[in-house]
């Protein structure tokens, strides 16, 4: 049976007042359970996680905002039982590219597991900020899985995840020697006689200096020559690893960004080039600008870019310190609701809000939904990574597909989707009437009903209440009938698209 709390009574009182004065009730329904709209901890959670869950709200309120950020910046101290269990089922993902390919011949499921692991880890890892950094660097050092699927799995493990909150120089060196990158941007075939400039150009334009970072076409050519012979060895077991082939290296003198690379050197040429790039002030500014755009605003505040770049330079490329600077800055605090959720952000935020059980057979629905939304993980073909800013994602087709996913997914509670289990009653507490149900659902999905306008609440209660009266007692049958779509409407709402 429904227990009426004092709060409920207040709401009902408020509704009576509505009938008389047409004001007041809204504030009451908005002020019910949930995290208040102005609470800075909600903003931090909505950017430092892939979407706040009830447990995150409890934790940040217990720890305090700063300690929470510190905790998330130290993923190595955070146990991650769900992900560990998940990974233990797919042990070959810890193997070499060759082992992964061998497995792929036996079992074509491996192809959906690559995007699936991205979704699963984002949604269920306790190391939420770490997973966001993995996403950031996956875009930054983009390698589509297409032809290099096995190598990309190794790259994700050995390059991106190993250094996501570590040192940028280490990350850059690891990426430059990653077979996935060497194959994708053709450095593996670059030889003195015919240097291939693909990687040489992108390592400056996209990975370090930025396109306005002060390099010339001559620099592109010189860097390509410096990196000749950086290739992939087919070792005895065929695993494939970085190898410097001195027989195809260009030993002549080179000039790169004002530095002279003396003649007669081998692998040292490339190592010096990467050092020059890793420590270049343009790199600090470019990385700072990209991080600020991702974590703060599509219009990154110049002041914050400069101070984050200074932190980056001053800490010799310490990503953790740079992130700490950004996340504790006043510009970050002032950027509430300014980032549009990219498709994968949207999907994962939905999964975190609903906390469904996902088994193996859940893959196709989620993976192909993301493809329809234009963001199939590891499937962006140009080297610049999926776009970050809202403008690239705000389009008619993407919005319709979002609505359809939002409206369809909650029907997992009715068994619509293979291998997805969902108990909506555990997410949205039962309610006595339409108004309460809307309030409960809004708290669960948006954090608080305060994010809904009065018109929004009227629309949603009208959807739930067949007679149009928000306070008519709601039968259990009617509640069960309306709840999945009500949740879907909140997931489809404009409020849920921003964070």
């Amino acid at each position: 049976m429904q227990q009426f709390s004092r709060r409920d009574m207040l709401k009902l009182t408020g509704l009576a007042a509505l009938a008389a004065s047409n004001v007041g009730w809204l504030a009451k329904v908005r002020a019910q359970e949930g995290i208040s709209q102005g609470d800075p901890s909600w903003h931090v959670l909505s950017r430092v996680t892939w979407g706040p869950m009830a447990a995150d709200v409890e934790r940040i309120q217990e720890m305090g905002v700063e300690a929470y950020i510190d905790w998330q910046l130290s993923p190595e101290t955070i146990p991650d039982p769900l992900v560990d269990e998940w990974l233990s089922k797919f042990d070959y993902l810890a193997g070499s590219a060759r082992e992964i390919y061998n497995r792929a011949y036996e079992d074509d499921y491996v192809y959906t597991i690559v995007p699936w692991q991205r979704i699963y880890r984002a949604a269920y890892s306790e190391r939420q900020l770490f997973e966001l950094m993995v996403e950031f660097w996956t875009d930054h050092f983009n390698v589509p899985a297409g032809d290099n699927m096995g190598e990309k799995i190794v790259d994700d493990r050995e390059v991106i995840r190993r250094h996501a909150l570590g040192n940028f120089r280490d990350l850059l060196f690891a990426s430059a020697q990653s077979p996935a990158m060497l194959y994708y941007l053709n450095n593996a075939e670059s030889v003195a006689e015919h240097p291939n400039e693909n990687y040489a150009r992108e390592v400056m334009e996209l990975h370090t200096l930025g396109v306005n970072g002060g390099y010339t076409e001559q620099d592109v050519r010189a860097v390509a020559r410096a990196l000749t012979g950086w290739t992939v060895a087919d070792t005895a077991n065929g695993a494939g690893s970085f190898y410097f082939d001195g027989s195809v290296h260009d030993y002549d003198e080179k000039h790169v960004l004002g530095h002279v690379l003396p003649s007669g050197r081998g692998i040292e040429d490339g190592l010096q080039v990467l050092d020059i790039l890793a420590t270049h002030p343009s790199t600090a500014r470019f990385i700072a600008q990209k991080l600020v755009r991702r974590f703060v605003s599509d219009q990154p505040p110049q002041e914050l870019i400069e101070s984050a770049a200074a932190t980056f330079l001053g800490s010799a490329g310490d990503i953790r310190e740079t992130m700490r600077h950004i996340l504790t800055s006043p510009q970050f605090a002032a950027s509430q609701g300014q980032k549009f959720r990219r498709p994968i952000d949207f999907m994962v935020a939905m999964l975190r809000a609903l906390r469904p059980g996902l088994e193996f057979g859940a893959r196709p629905y989620l993976v192909w939904s993301l493809e329809d939304l234009g963001q199939l993980p590891y499937n962006w073909h140009p080297p610049n990574g999926f776009p970050d800013a809202a403008g690239a994602w705000l389009n008619t087709n993407g919005l319709l597909n979002r609505w359809n996913l939002a409206l369809g997914f909650p029907y997992a509670s009715e068994g619509w989707w293979d291998d997805i289990s969902l108990d909506l009653n555990a997410i949205v507490p039962p309610a006595a009437n339409a108004l309460q149900l809307v309030g409960n659902a809004a708290s669960a999905i948006l954090g608080t009903a305060e994010r809904l306008s009065r018109d929004d609440i009227e629309l949603l209660t009208a959807f739930v209440a067949d007679d149009g009266n928000p306070t008519t007692p709601l039968s259990q049958e009617a509640r069960i009938d309306k709840l999945p779509t009500l949740v879907g409407l909140l997931l489809a709402s404009p409020q849920f698209q921003w964070h």
Binding site: S190, V191, Y365, N397, L399, W416, D456, T485, G488, L489
Partner: protein
């Protein structure tokens, strides 16, 4: 080995055998309560005789124009520099170039376009491209699609500026359509443009008994009758679009005259453009992409990877031409790519980023022929080892705008550019 294409078909299987019995699909789901959504005659202002529909095709990655329209007449200047990937001189065989004018020939994989050439509807502009020297894909694409090479400050795409500067108005959500999950850079800007993946799938899904209430609620949450921001404006576009598409009677589309589009994203995209043009829903410009042209390695010669790309391109264009025969006097198709590739093949039997390229134009208002100023492949005329750009790609586009699309505001579409007409097109 499995690839994403096979996965795609698995998804289609999932859809067919999955939950379609539960997920309602209604062709009349647009709520009748919204008066602005009546199919309006103002959308149909693109009646033949007024202006062409433009189909702008972007070949992403930098097409190797020298192996698409082969300058076999250059002899050793071409053949010596491409020892493994050159296309043999025309000799009538299936793996040789197809002669056009004694100097240039089509790649054999473009054979379907020879019929279009013979019909007088194919123009080829060699040595075309952007005057900006960048060999970055992203810069080159952005410059080309924005229409202001070298200027990063331009926010909108050239097609979008064309729509804004045109003397006529057209409120159809299909005025500008980008085929794909996202709209192309050329279409971005203040004039609304629609990203469209699939005509048949473009509708709200959910429980049949709730569709009307769901539509009404979402429309209200996004305040679509008085959109206050970009997101609600997009929402409003979704509703208009769903409404119009639901009224297109020919969802099961059969191309005319036995035209067979390739079953590729490009082929399906072109077919949907044809469908929209025939449905007369107000389409003025469509952008279609075809990717994969960044052939740094193993690009092949008369056969192989590059040949497959060309085959998709050629079959798609030819199918569109056949299907659209009755409409072609009012359609112009133009292809472009961010840059061409170097003359020399590289050590990986591929080609690296170059500059000048070949553009194609197809339509009723064209006289077939080779256009532009061909300066050859002599090392003295090359631009950094690549074919030089001797025709600004905007020379082609501005002639289309003026003669076929009825917009002479070139200074607004391509600010800072002065025109050099090539006389490829007849004025309407």
């Amino acid at each position: 080995m499995m690839n994403l294409q096979t996965l795609k078909s698995r998804r289609e299987l999932l859809r067919s055998f999955g939950h379609l019995g539960i997920v309602g699909v209604s062709s009349t789901l647009y709520p009748g309560w919204m008066p602005r959504l009546v199919f309006s005659p103002r959308y149909q202002n693109n009646a033949p005789g007024q202006r062409d529909v433009l189909v702008a095709i972007f070949q992403r990655g930098g097409m190797d124009g020298l192996n698409a329209v082969i300058p076999f007449g250059e002899g050793s200047l071409y053949y010596d520099r491409r020892p493994t990937i050159a296309i043999p001189e025309p000799d009538g065989s299936a793996l040789a170039a197809i002669d056009l004018d004694g100097h240039f020939g089509l790649h054999p994989a473009l054979r379907p376009l020879k019929d279009v050439w013979d019909a007088g509807s194919l123009g080829l502009i060699h040595g075309a491209g952007s005057p900006d020297p960048t060999r970055s894909h992203f810069d080159a694409m952005e410059y080309m699609e924005r229409g202001t090479p070298g200027d990063r400050s331009t926010a909108a795409g050239w097609i979008n500026r064309h729509l804004l500067s045109a003397a006529w108005q057209n409120d159809s959500p299909f005025r500008a359509v980008g085929i794909g999950a996202m709209v192309q850079g050329s279409l971005r800007g203040m004039a609304p443009a629609l990203a469209l993946q699939s005509i048949a799938d473009f509708h709200l899904q959910g429980r049949d008994d709730q569709l009307e209430a769901v539509s009404r609620t979402i429309a209200g949450l996004y305040n679509i009758t008085a959109p206050a921001d970009l997101l609600s404006a997009q929402a409003s576009e979704v509703f208009d679009t769903v409404n119009l598409l639901s009224q297109m009677s020919n969802l099961d589309y059969t191309p005319a005259y036995g035209a067979a589009y390739p079953e590729s994203a490009f082929g399906i995209g072109l077919q949907q453009v044809a469908q929209l043009i025939k449905a007369d829903v107000g389409l003025e410009v469509a952008a279609v992409d075809i990717g994969g042209w960044d052939t740094h390695e193993s690009q092949g010669g008369a056969e192989g990877e590059f040949a497959s790309l060309l085959s998709d391109l050629g079959q798609g264009l030819a199918a569109f031409y056949t299907d659209m025969q009755d409409y072609m006097s009012g359609v112009t198709v133009v292809t472009m790519s961010e840059f061409g590739r170097r003359v020399d093949e590289n050590a990986s039997a591929g080609t690296d980023h170059g500059h000048g390229n070949v553009m194609m134009v197809m339509g009723g208002g064209i006289t077939s022929g080779m256009y532009g100023r061909w300066v050859g492949l002599g090392s003295d005329v090359l631009d950094d080892s690549a074919l030089a750009v001797t025709t600004d790609y905007r020379d082609v586009l501005s002639e289309i705008l003026i003669k076929r699309l009825g917009n002479s505001a070139i200074d607004q579409v391509f600010p800072g550019y002065s025109m050099n007409p090539l006389n490829i097109f007849q004025a309407r």
